[in-house]
Every structure is written in structure tokens, then in C-alpha cells.
């Protein structure tokens, strides 16, 4: 490892601009002649739009135009779509209800836009919006899963009878039935996975510009995947053909999944920029984020696990209902199916699994992938079930897990996934040691003597990351391939530009990816520029989500690098009059092994571009591209254990300790990796203790600001103790697995297992607020 190569915790290249206020986020950008958009949103969860009167608003100062849902439909802008086809058990396709970018006839959730005001200033647009009169006829509402599937429930979409989107299953039902028939013990659990709001700190924003002379659009947007945005806007929404649309995602202030999707506001901004002939800017406020950013989770599940007399698992049966909200968001269908049920084997040898998933429409904000996306729901279910089983079977929870661990790899689970490598015992051991698991009973007794309830909770998670092998996901219904691309340009002076289809919105790609180059070529990372987030610069890319950037995007960089090295070696060999096979690269020099002859990278690069003395037939230049499609998912895994103390007088929980042992394969920048774990843990702990998106029976969101949706603050969280138990991923040349979601996937079960251990029973749902914990203790 060089000082800036693989394994070095170098400080981030991007941090000078971020710490000095020089980041460039969408809302920081101003275009000449720019107008401002303000959306008029439905205050009703379900209603007919009877009329929109904008005559008074049109006369207000600064108003450029008021545009409505009917106009966007008349202009044949396409409906929003879900890009992953799921087939129900009965063979029927999923039932996708029509979702126009602004509602012409029917609104189906509070916050759905019906019209937009365009004005010279943001305040003028807001003022005029107050003067637009929208007449609604309210319709009956279904606000949660249970009311959606009741016989006779109000119907949201004519396409979806009974509000059912699909009723899907995976696994072998009869094998599971046989397993339960042989069981010595059966453990049952019903649980809710609470609805969350991603809440990236930067609200979504868009600026659209239409240049008439070229019939060309530019969109600045808060996107995790600008090329996917361009593809969808072009192929499905008919905004503009791809070669007439440039999408730029500059610095983006967090995503967590919520900025994967192409939302109505971006579509409207683009469409409106042509309509009004001026650039149009929209910046959401926080309440708009609560109302319109795709939410996460929202499952109700029943799970049963069968054990033999030796406490080995025989089978698992799961029935889950998932709420997808009022419309099917871009990848919503895949989250409670292929990203969830395929992980229900956890870290365990489970011979038979059968999972049924029914998804439903409700009059709530659409639900899609949020950090972890299906895998936190799976991990929470499996790990609460294991804890419940240990208590019911009266065995140590850690040892019950160990007894059932998968120890032979590769391992084919009954639910599609083929785990390539892992050492689950190593991470369990590391966490148990770090928290002094053996000493817990004494600590619990001491706390009891002081009137406090002490609990310890284990969670052994596994996730499928490095999303994803294109052929595999294609066979499962994905509408896109999930490869990644990279381009490496060695400039004539020897500096290097790496153009990647991954997108950094906090992950530190500008540093980690530069370290990959430094490792191979021995150049300092200051000589390497990472270029991302612009469809005019980067050839293509599928973006950043599913902990894929390093395993897939990083491997694409390595593949392009190999091509650059091969050509550079040929040039060096020619210049040095040596054999290409004798050239080695060390510290930025191309050396002839066993001699003192060498040529520095800038001289090789210069030779490539002057082209005065290249091998016969070689093209000038030193620039290569690669598209990399992974052969399998990667499988990060680990063990989280937390120790919690509960004050029975108040129901307040406090952390005594939180330890994590993760297997992410090889670490490129351990400092950045640990930062990712910290952030994931905070979101998982937030789900367990604080966060909950609540709707009342009329579909009104009760939690639509930071005043009433509890975001984790610094004093809600402990300092974390992290360790690493890596096994190198055999599926990619870097041996990496991905680390961005693990914390959010594994931590919520550890917290709830600790609290239920403390209070002595299992009847507790997330978020375990002091009120809920107090009632769980005192009834």
C-alpha cells in the first residue's frame, strides 16, 4: 500500500470545498433569466379535482404562468412509471395505476401537485399560489395497509381491484409445510416495520433550461443517478430525446435512496422551461420533502420458524404486507420482493423458506427504496425471530445463532441468493469480545440493584450489495441493467481524470476512487480528478445506491485502468527499447525489470499524445473506457450488539455500549468506511427509537416537519465501537463488498432485542419511544 493507496485513511479531497462553504448544490446555482416555480398541492388525501381558477393569480406581480395537470397531459408528457415488473402468484402482472406528473382529475395523497405557479421570484410564486382556487370533491380514504385490504375498502386505482398491486411468493411452500410438520418447536412473531422518511439534509431541487436554437434541455437536479434520470425522462416521459437532454447532478446533500427516483417536480420544471421560454428553478422545502420524497419501509409481517429438537432451524414461513403508497415509485416493486425476501435466510442454514408478499395502494406518499431497501426489513424480521426463539427455547441468543450459521461457502439459499464467502463466527466473536458479553449478567444484576433494567441485544445481519448482475436482475423483472462504466483519461502532462457513472452525495468517491489510481500508478491523489454527475461528460452510468459504487463502479475503474496500463506499457517498452513483458509500474515510473532503465508516467503520456514515436499501428492518445457487469451480488455481513439501560420510571432508554463487527471485504479507505457505518447505525437506531411517519385515518400526515418527526440528534446516540472481520469478496478484483447500508440494516434489531431483553417480554414495536417502553413495562 502506498501512502495514498488502498488501505490508507487519507483525508478527503472534497472536504476543503465543503468546510469552506464552497460546495455547489443545485439551489446554489443561478441561471440568466431564471424564474421560480411553486407547486400547488392537494390538502386532501383522496379527492376529485373539480376546477382550478388561476385568473386572480395571473394578475399578481411577477407571475409568468400558472400551469395545470390537464396541460401536462394534453402535451403528452408521459406518466411516471415503476421500472421493475413483478408477477403475482397467479401469473398476473403487477397493477400499475396511472401517475401523471400533476394530477388532472384525481389526487391520491396529501401533497400531490395539481398545478404550478411560475414567477420572477420565489416569494411572488408563493404569493400567487395563495390566489389559485382549486375546487376538490373529497373521496373516501384508505390510509394504512389494514384498511386498504378490507373488503369494500375505497378503491384508489381502477387498474388495481382491492387496492392490491401484486400478491407474490418465493420459495417452496410444500417443503416448508413438511419442515413445520417435523418441528420440535415453532416460534411465531408478528411485527411492524415502521414507515420512515429518508430526510437527506438537502431538500430536492431542480433547475431546467430550454435552449430553443438547439432544441436542447439542461436539468440540474439532486440525483443519485443522472444518467438514469436522463434515460427515464427521455424514454418514458417524452420530455426530450437523450441527445437533446443534459442532466447534471452537482454536489448533492445526501440521498439515502430518496434521490434515485425521477420525481414530478423535475419533469414539470423541464416541461415548463419550454412552455415559458425561461429557465425554471424549484427548490423544495422540508415539508415538501416529507410530503413528496419517497418514504421507506412500512411492512406488517407474520413470521414462523421451525426448529428440530437440537435447535437447528428446519424452515421459515413469512407473510408480509407492504404499503407502496398512492402510486408505484420507480423501483418500489422490487424493494419488498427481490431486495427483501431473498435475504430472509439471514446468516443461517435454513433448508426451506416460503415467503408471501402482498403490496397495496393507500392514500399516502409513495414508498420506495430507503437506505437498505428491503434488507433492513428482512434483517429485522430474522433477527427478532432468532432472539425470540432463543428466549422461547431457553438458550443463549448468540449460541443459537452460532449453531445455525452457514459455515461452508459458496452457499445456495432457498431464496435465490448464492452467498460467495463470509465468516459469520468471526464477526460474532469480535462483537461479543468488544462488549464483554460474558460479563453482561453481572452488569445486569448491578443495574437491577440500582433500580434500572439492563438488556443486551444481538443482531447478525447479511445484505446483498454490489447491485447487480444485469442478466440476473433482468430475469427477475428489472427494466434496466445494473452494470457500471468508467473512463480514464491520462492527460499529456500525466494528470489523470477518472470519469465514473457512480455519483457521490457524501460517500467520498473523489478520494476513494483516486486512491485506486494511486495504488496502481503510484501517483499522488492530488494528480487525479474524479468526474461524475454530468451526462455530457460521463459516457454513461447507473449511479449510486445499493452499496454498489466501489464493488461495481470501482471495478469498472480497475477494468479501464488495466487497459490504460497495457497500452502505457507498450509505449514505455517501445521508448525504452525493451520487451513489454519486462515493464513494471512502480511509484509513477515504468521500469524495465532488472535494469535501471525507466520512464516516468508523464513522459509516457506525452509520447502517447505527441505520437512522434509510437509502436507501429498504435492509435495516439492514452484514454480507455470500460463497462463492468458484476457476476454476482456481494454479501457484506456482520454482528451488532448493543447494551441498553431502561429507566422503568420514565421508559427512557440509554445506550451503555454499541459495538459493530463488519465484513466488508477489503477496505480502501477505512476512515470513510467507518463514517459510512456510523451514519447507517444512526439511521437504524433512529428507526428503532425515534422515527415514525404517521398518517391519521383521513390520510393526513401527522409528521411533516422536523418539529414532529424525530430525527436522531447527537445526544440520542452513543459513540460506536467498530471492528472489521474481512473476508475478501471473490467476485471482483478489489475483493470489496460495499459498506453504505450495513449500519441501517443490522442495527434496529439489536436495539429492540436489547430493550425487550431489559423489559422481559417481546411486545414492543418500533419506534420504542419512552411512552411505548413505559407502557410495555407497566401495561
Amino acid at each position: 500500500m502506498g501512502v495514498e493507496g488502498i488501505g490508507a485513511s487519507v483525508v478527503r479531497k472534497e472536504d476543503r470545498r465543503f468546510t469552506t462553504g464552497k460546495g455547489r448544490y443545485v439551489d446554489d446555482i443561478k441561471l440568466q433569466g431564471m424564474t421560480h416555480a411553486h407547486f400547488i398541492r392537494s390538502p386532501h388525501a383522496h379527492a376529485k379535482v373539480k376546477g382550478i381558477d388561476s385568473s386572480a393569480a395571473m394578475k399578481m406581480p411577477g407571475v409568468v404562468g400558472v400551469l395545470t395537470g390537464q396541460q401536462i397531459v394534453d402535451d403528452k408528457v408521459g406518466n411516471l412509471i415503476c421500472g421493475w415488473a413483478i408477477t403475482s402468484k397467479d401469473g398476473s402482472p403487477m397493477k400499475m395505476g396511472a401517475w401523471p406528473a400533476m394530477a388532472p382529475e384525481t389526487v391520491r395523497f396529501v401533497g400531490q401537485a395539481v398545478a404550478v405557479v411560475i414567477a420572477e421570484t420565489k416569494n411572488q410564486a408563493k404569493d400567487a399560489a395563495e390566489a389559485v382556487v382549486v375546487t376538490y370533491e373529497e373521496l373516501p380514504v384508505v390510509a394504512d395497509i389494514r384498511s386498504a385490504i378490507k373488503p369494500g375498502a375505497p378503491q384508489l386505482h381502477p387498474e388495481a381491484p382491492g387496492n392490491v398491486i401484486y400478491d407474490w411468493a418465493i420459495g417452496d411452500e410444500s417443503a416448508v409445510k413438511d419442515a413445520f410438520g417435523k418441528a420440535a418447536n415453532v416460534v411465531t412473531l408478528e411485527l411492524t416495520n415502521n414507515r420512515l422518511v429518508p430526510n437527506a439534509m438537502e431538500p430536492r431541487a431542480a433547475i431546467a433550461e430550454y435552449e430553443e436554437a438547439e432544441e436542447h434541455y439542461t436539468l440540474y437536479t439532486t440525483s443519485q443517478n443522472p444518467h438514469v434520470a436522463r434515460l427515464v425522462l427521455s424514454a418514458f416521459y417524452n420530455i426530450a430525446p437523450e441527445h437533446k437532454l443534459r442532466v447534471i447532478a452537482p454536489d448533492v446533500g445526501g440521498g439515502f435512496g430518496s434521490k434515485i427516483y425521477i420525481y414530478p417536480e423535475e419533469m414539470v420544471a423541464l416541461w415548463a422551461s419550454k412552455k415559458v421560454g425561461r429557465p425554471v428553478k424549484w427548490t423544495g422545502d422540508r415539508t415538501e420533502a416529507f410530503l413528496t420524497d419517497a418514504h421507506g419501509r412500512d411492512h406488517i409481517s407474520k413470521a414462523e420458524m421451525a426448529f428440530d429438537k437440537d435447535n437447528k432451524i428446519l424452515g421459515l414461513r413469512v407473510k408480509t404486507h407492504a404499503n407502496l403508497g398512492a402510486y408505484m415509485s420507480l423501483f418500489s416493486s422490487s424493494v419488498p420482493t427481490y431486495l427483501y425476501a431473498t435475504l430472509l435466510s439471514g446468516q443461517y442454514n435454513i433448508p426451506a423458506i416460503y415467503a408471501e408478499v402482498m403490496t397495496v395502494y393507500t392514500n399516502t406518499t409513495p414508498v420506495d427504496a430507503y437506505r437498505g431497501a428491503g434488507r433492513p426489513e428482512a434483517s429485522y424480521l430474522v433477527e427478532r425471530l432468532m432472539e425470540t426463539a432463543a428466549r422461547q427455547l431457553k438458550v443463549d441468543p448468540a449460541e443459537l445463532r452460532r449453531k445455525n450459521f452457514i459455515t461452508q461457502f459458496p452457499h445456495q439459499t432457498p431464496v435465490i441468493m448464492a452467498y460467495d464467502i463470509g465468516d459469520f463466527g468471526a464477526s460474532l466473536d469480535a462483537s461479543m469480545k468488544a462488549i464483554d458479553y460474558a460479563g453482561f449478567p453481572a452488569r445486569k444484576a448491578k443495574a437491577k440493584a440500582e433500580g434500572k433494567l439492563r438488556g443486551i441485544g444481538v443482531s447478525c445481519y447479511i445484505e446483498a450489495c454490489g447491485i447487480a448482475p444485469s442478466k440476473a436482475v433482468g430475469s427477475l423483472g428489472a427494466g434496466v441493467g445494473l452494470w457500471e462504466s468508467a473512463e480514464i483519461r491520462v492527460n499529456p502532462v500525466g494528470t489523470i481524470e477518472v470519469l465514473t457513472g457512480s455519483h457521490s452525495h457524501g460517500q467520498g468517491h473523489e478520494t476513494t476512487f483516486a486512491q485506486l489510481i494511486s495504488e496502481r500508478l503510484g501517483v499522488p491523489i492530488s494528480q487525479v480528478q474524479i468526474v461524475h454527475g454530468d451526462t455530457d461528460k460521463v459516457q454513461f452510468g447507473m449511479g449510486t445506491y445499493g452499496s454498489r459504487s466501489l464493488a461495481v463502479g470501482g471495478t469498472a475503474i480497475i477494468k479501464a485502468m488495466e487497459k490504460v496500463e497495457a497500452k502505457a506499457k507498450k509505449i514505455a517498452a517501445h521508448q525504452l527499447e525493451a520487451s513489454e513483458n519486462d515493464i513494471v509500474i512502480e511509484n509513477g515510473e515504468f521500469k524495465v525489470t532488472g535494469t535501471d532503465k525507466s520512464i516516468a508516467l508523464p513522459m509516457v503520456a506525452l509520447a502517447a499524445y505527441t505520437a512522434h514515436n509510437l509502436p507501429d499501428g498504435m492509435e495516439p492518445g492514452l484514454k480507455e473506457t470500460a463497462f463492468y457487469d458484476p457476476t454476482n451480488f456481494t454479501f457484506p455481513a456482520g454482528t451488532y450488539i448493543c447494551e441498553i439501560e431502561v429507566d422503568p420510571a420514565t421508559g427512557k432508554t440509554s445506550f451503555v455500549d454499541f459495538v459493530a463487527a463488519d465484513d466488508f471485504g477489503r477496505l480502501i479507505n477505512p476512515m470513510i468506511v467507518e463514517g459510512q457505518v456510523h451514519g447507517g447505525l444512526a439511521q437504524g437506531i433512529g428507526q428503532a427509537l425515534l422515527e415514525h411517519a404517521i398518517y391519521d385515518a383521513n390520510g393526513q400526515p401527522i409528521t411533516a416537519s422536523f418539529m414532529d418527526y424525530t430525527m436522531p440528534r447527537a445526544d440520542d446516540l452513543p459513540s460506536f465501537k467498530l471492528s472489521h472481520t474481512p473476508t475478501l469478496c471473490p467476485g471482483n478484483p478489489l475483493g470489496v463488498k460495499g459498506c453504505g447500508e450495513a449500519g441501517a440494516i443490522g442495527s434496529s434489531a439489536a436495539v429492540i432485542n436489547a430493550i425487550t431483553d431489559a423489559i422481559g417480554h417481546n411486545k414492543l414495536e418500533m419506534p420504542a419511544t419512552p411512552d411505548r417502553v413505559w407502557h410495555a413495562i407497566h401495561g
Partner: protein, 161 residues
């Protein structure tokens, strides 16, 4: 509309503002100081924290007119040329930021915390004092480390002055 005069990052500024204009909008939209961010509408998140006369204030909660005559410092005004403020350097060195959106407000709040507590900061105090600043990326672990590190550095740099 009224004309207000104030000092921003050491420079005298005069601007015509609507009476309802918030200080954060004066900074971002009129003065193009876009390092100060808006993350919520309810004074919860702290992405907009600046210093008014040396004290940390949420600039989304102050009318521009209320800041007339005062001395405002933003994230753009705390480094000395290329030399980062010790708090900026500590955030960089301890990986106290990821997406960078909450960072300017965090840094401005943290400087005020260190000024108020001097050398008496510990982890619990830092966590408590940061309750007005929300970060969604870092889990606060490295932010707390950064603030404690900077407290030491600021003591040293004050002693040197």
C-alpha cells in the same frame, strides 16, 4: 422594501430587502454567500447557522432587517486565506462530514460552543450542545470527535496569539 446596512465577513454591505426577507436569503440570494444552507423551515436543523456579533444564530429565524447594523460572519468568512480555521481543519481531519450540507452550520455552531466552554468540553457536553444541528450522514460520531479536537487546537492557537 427597505435599505439595510450591515457588515458581512468584515465587509460593509448595503442591500435593498423586502421586510419579510430572512437573513439566510439575503446571504444566499443577494450576497451569493451560498455556503449557508437551508435544511428545514422550522429552525430545527441548523444548516443555516451564522454568527451575529460573535454568537451562533440560525439565519433562517432572523429577518434581514433585524441584522441591520450587526457584524455577520458566515462559513466563507472564518478561514485566513488558504489556512483553514481550526474547526474546519478538525472536521476535515476527523472525517466530520460526508455530504457537506449540514457542515457549514455545524462548524459555525461548534465554534460558538468552544468559545462558550473554552477548555471544559467533554463528549456529553458537545452532544448536548449540538442538539440544534441535525446531520443525517455521520451519526455524529466523527462530528463530536472533530469538535473536541478543535477545542484543543483553538486553545493552542489562542495561546499563541
Amino acid at each position: 422594501m427597505s435599505t439595510i446596512k450591515l457588515t458581512v465577513n468584515g465587509k460593509a454591505v448595503s442591500a435593498d430587502v423586502e421586510d419579510r426577507t430572512l437573513l439566510v436569503h439575503l446571504l444566499r440570494e443577494t450576497l451569493n454567500l451560498t455556503g449557508t444552507h437551508v435544511g428545514c423551515d422550522t429552525s430545527q436543523c441548523g444548516a443555516c447557522v451564522v454568527h451575529i456579533d460573535g454568537k451562533a444564530v440560525k439565519s433562517c429565524t432572523v429577518l434581514a432587517g433585524q441584522a441591520a447594523g450587526s457584524n455577520v460572519t458566515t462559513i466563507e468568512g472564518i478561514s485566513k486565506g488558504d489556512e483553514l480555521h481550526p474547526m474546519q481543519a478538525a472536521f476535515r481531519d476527523n472525517h466530520g462530514l460526508q455530504c457537506g450540507y449540514c457542515t457549514p452550520g455545524m462548524i459555525m455552531s461548534a465554534i460558538d460552543i468552544v468559545h462558550r466552554y473554552g477548555g471544559k468540553l467533554d463528549e456529553e457536553t458537545v452532544r448536548h450542545e449540538l442538539e440544534g444541528n441535525i446531520c443525517r450522514c455521520t451519526g455524529y460520531h466523527n462530528i463530536v470527535k472533530s469538535v473536541l479536537d478543535a477545542a484543543g487546537r483553538m486553545k493552542v492557537s489562542q495561546a499563541a496569539e
